[in-house]
């Protein structure tokens, strides 16, 4: 065998590559949703969230540890965010091949932990392992299914070393879900409204029944009319919406909500005729999805109010105020709350 300087360099580089991550891995072992055992730092102080759902969860659990946003908050979001984190830079997102985040940029922000919160699939398991191997930063993925939300909050709290805070938020989540279950127990299937989720300025983009974008509608008993061939987003025609004749329309598009009453092709839809088109608030995080994270807990309460106005007698403004205080650490004043809910 011959040893050239070049191959010696390669060997040295290989040793350096394998040694580097190992050095960063001292800490407590944590088995994440992908089944990988990850060495998590005892008290992570600089945490990067890989996608918007994780960023929201991280913000609610341990805002002081955030090092940046996946997408910078919009100006309209700022009054509803802690000022010290609102100004953090936008770093981009890790999503697999189409990353908008350069790993070198991420590393120069010196994170000691990367967290992700969302779908657990082969792609994301592999992504977590690859980014961790490549960057040497431990990468934890927590299951983002809505059904296991309280447990996921606790898991993320454990990883971030804020178990008491996580318990507090998880207890709120459990109470909210129990409240919804108690409400639904009194309402027979036939009395639950048929619901169409309108997206886009024409309202013709929708989230199918069973999709992550519409799942909280079903959780509050809404019967999503869009039972489609897909479990994601789809386009439908106005004629199809007419044929479905939904009793309630939930929209996330301000423009659509403002114009639907005057759009000829929406006339005669029961929700439009009866004035039951509701614009979901979206600051600082959406009530329905955008992102699909803990922000949806207040969406559950909001939907319960919109779906069953005769049954739900609690005060929505107070509920929103409490939620924003507990989760987002801000106390919006009366005018801000009215603007948020009035839209």
């Amino acid at each position: 065998m011959r040893y050239s300087p070049a191959s010696a360099l390669k060997v040295a580089a290989l040793i350096a590559l394998t040694a580097l991550p190992a050095a960063a891995f001292d800490g407590t072992p944590f088995t994440d949703a992908t089944g990988r055992e990850v060495q998590v730092p005892a008290n992570p102080a600089r945490v990067f969230a890989a996608g918007p759902p994780a960023a929201t969860l991280l913000y609610t659990l341990k805002p002081a540890a955030m090092i940046g946003w996946v997408r910078a908050p919009k100006t309209s979001d700022l009054p509803f965010l802690r000022p010290e984190v609102a100004a953090l830079p936008e770093l981009g997102r890790l999503t697999g091949k189409g990353d908008t985040l350069n790993l070198e940029v991420l590393l120069s922000a010196t994170p000691d932990l990367i967290v992700d919160y969302g779908t657990v699939s082969g792609t994301y398991t592999d992504l977590a392992a690859r980014v961790q191997d490549q960057s040497g930063v431990p990468y934890v993925l927590v299951d983002g299914s809505f059904a296991v939300l309280p447990q996921s909050i606790r898991d993320m709290g454990k990883v971030l070393a804020v178990p008491e805070r996580a318990d507090q938020l998880a207890a709120y989540a459990e109470a909210t879900l129990a409240e919804i279950d108690a409400l639904l127990a009194e309402i027979p299937e036939a009395e639950r409204p048929t619901v169409y989720l309108a997206r886009g300025s024409e309202g013709l983009e929708t989230a199918a029944k069973g999709s992550i974008n519409a799942e909280i509608i079903e959780r509050v008993g809404g019967r999503n009319v869009a039972d489609l061939e897909t479990k994601g987003l789809a386009n439908v025609s106005a004629e199809q919406v007419q044929a479905w004749a939904p009793q309630v329309i939930i929209t996330i598009d301000r423009d659509f909500a403002a114009r639907v009453a005057t759009m000829p092709e929406w006339q005669g839809v029961p929700a439009v005729t009866n004035g039951r088109v509701y614009l979901a608030p979206a600051t600082p995080f959406g009530f329905i999805d955008a992102p699909p994270s803990v922000n949806r807990l207040i969406g559950l309460k909001w939907l319960a109010h919109k779906f069953y106005p005769e049954k739900v007698k609690t005060d929505l403004t107070t509920a929103v105020e409490e939620f924003y205080d507990l989760f987002y650490g801000v106390k919006p004043d009366g005018a801000a709350l009215a603007a948020l809910l009035g839209g």
Binding site: P52, R71, T100, R199, G200, S201, E202, L204, E205, A208, A226, D227, L228, E229, T230, L233, A234, N235, V236, S237, A238, E239, Q240, Q242, A243, I252, D253, D255, M263, P264, E265, Q267, G268, G286, D289, A290, P291
Partner: protein
Amino acid sequence: MADRALIPLLLVGLILALLLAAATGAFPIPPGRIVAVLAGRDGDAQAAAVLWNIRLPRVLAAALVGAALSGAGAAYQTVFRNPLVSPDILGVSAGAGFGAVLGILLGLPVLAIQLMGFGTGLATVGLVLLLSLSLRGGGQVLVMVLCGIAIGALAGAGISLVKLLADPESQLPAITFWLMGSLAGIKRPDVAAALPAIVTGLVPLILLRWRICLLALGDDEARSLGVEAGRLRLLVIACATLVTAAAVSMAGVIGWVGLMVPHMARLATGPRFDRLLPATLLAGAAFMVLVDTAARSIATMEVPLGILTAVLGAPVFLWLLARGARTWSE
């Protein structure tokens, strides 16, 4: 004889396609009652609203888009003397796509998005023509096509950039749906906005169809027959671009129709543009009306037109290739 029967035959086909499309839809209206509803003799106001505001504008839009893309395809193929040319050869689709997705990114109203797509589609081809005329060998067809490919690639890069900048939760799905082409959101004002441009573009093509025939012979032959090839070619390109930009900005990017329908028509008429154009317009309108009817009835969700035209178009195109180039050259 067969030649003379062709146009009436296609016309009957188009009318049948329109009737089928008008009678098909998600909203339950028995076909037998449609005439009564349209005449206002049926008391069902909701059915009338669905027909007038949703279904009929869409059927009309499908016919317009089909005729526009096919007619433009036939015109482009003739002036470039190349059967592989489709209406987006000079970058009109990519340009219109860029303008429209930029409009979505900026959160503009739908009609403004349509206008922006229309404007950038025209501007893209304008830029291509200016470039090709100012470069060495100015006005040559090859230079023109190469400029179109280059500018089209730039517009494509612009579309990718807009996708990257778009909000992945709200804007990106809208952009993706738009780029796949659909008539799902068509309303009467959209049709009213596109109609004048499509008519303005198609009328000169129809009036000048005998002269345009001569372009297929080559510039020198055309000149010897008294036709100034360069100027006529520019006029045809302008007209075909106008109708394509109007169609694309209304319906999104729909591939294959502009390439395939002229070939299908050519099988019946032969390559002469004066015979080809009417057959292409009628066949294109009928084809698009049928494809759009399929797009809104084979599933509860809308199937993007770009997918359906490719699924139907690719096999037909391969079959044409297998038959060889006889239909073009004879």
